[in-house]
Symmetry: C2
Subunit: 204 residues, 2 copies
DNA sequence: ATCTTTGGCTTGACAGTGTCAAGTTTAGAC
DNA sequence: GTCTAAACTTGACACTGTCAAGCCAAAGAT
């Protein structure tokens, strides 16, 4: 009732939102290979061409999903670490949160790291969200290296990212199933045991 | 001239081989998304249906490529480590070889870890080759943990794999380019610096 | 020498895809 | 009521993976 632009903005945002929701449902239900523009349209109850009114092409809708994924990853990372105060505990909590996010949103997570599907130089918002999520990691790794050695350790940032990302990826692709099983609980337990080893890397 | 079956085997193997070679060329030239059965046929100079005479479907030809990839990775790993005798050096050499393989064969490497594209439970030979490559890693990690602590450390195997795999993956997806650059040399140098940090994990 | 088999290949179709082009509906502003 | 612009539609195009059917040359058996 109050402001006209508000209503206009909502109606402009709502079909876009509906398409994104349909895409997220589809992608987690059918996997990345099952994603198609036409199936998104079908699920949103519109014609096959309607999505092109809100996104220039397939890559753009995927980029929007990627951006949202990095926002959620950032939020999860902050939520998982803000309860802890000891740097080492925060570091550990971040690693667990990263793996848990990947295992809970497998197709979404994979998409976030498929540079052929979404070229970040063409999609600034996806890139920005990715960098914001990365910043959380940077801060927590810096905390732990400052606490342990009194100095920042830039290489440790990439080392830490590589460790948790590799663990998440291998689990997602089923490469560790033979050892840890395929259920969520057993995978999380396996991840925790591997993370414990990986954390030796921060010791002086 | 000598043996009939030998010639028969060669002519039976040769078109299959030609299709695999065309696939490998295509995949490294156009990336994973650029791969298509019809383009493979075009490059091999045959009709669009000819490949189906040698592979039941698209996934089967991809599985054959995956198998070949793991064979090469295994060969590279053995070649890179057999010159070294100190376990820690062998461990380091293996990590470098893993990353170098990924960076040298980006699309091929990615395919080897795309479980939606090639389900290993449906393609025994791909699975077997993957396991043989994995065995090389297992042996070298066991060597280094035995040398350091006198005991095997199974969790260290998965930790090591996660580290190098995550590093390779992040580099391939361009996620570390901002820091290390995108050229082969600068990436390899960056990888070496990260690997040095990661190797703290094997210290007692 | 003829017949049959078989491996390698072809052409033609079908439903599915992403996307271009052009037309239609609809809702609010004036 | 008219105008405008957003939201949407229908219809095409070239492309994909794959099914179905048939062609052809060489090899083996009779």
């Amino acid at each position: 009732m109050t402001a006209v632009p508000k209503t206009a903005a909502r109606t402009a945002e709502s079909p876009r939102r509906a398409l994104l929701d349909a895409s997220l449902d589809l992608i987690e239900a059918e996997g990345l290979e099952g994603f198609s523009m036409r199936e998104v349209a079908r699920r949103a109850g519109v014609s096959h061409q309607a999505p092109y009114h809100h996104f220039p092409d397939r890559e753009a809708i995927l980029a929007a999903i990627v951006a949202e994924g990095f926002e959620r990853l950032r939020a999860d990372s902050l939520a998982a670490t803000e309860g802890e105060s000891d740097p080492a505990c925060r570091y550990h909590a971040l690693g667990r949160a990263y793996v848990k996010f990947a295992l809970s949103n497998p197709a979404h997570f994979k998409l976030m790291f498929r540079s052929e599907l979404v070229r970040e130089d063409k999609h600034e918002d996806a890139k920005a969200c990715a960098e914001q999520a990365f910043d959380v990691l940077v801060n927590i790794v810096d905390e732990v290296s400052l606490a342990n050695t009194g100095e920042r350790d830039p290489a440790l940032i990439f080392a830490s990212w590589s460790m948790v990302h590799g663990l998440a990826t291998l689990m997602l692709e089923g490469k560790l199933d033979k050892h840890f099983g395929a259920s969520m609980d057993s995978r999380l337990a396996g991840a925790a045991s591997v993370l414990k080893v990986l954390e030796r890397v921060v010791k002086p």
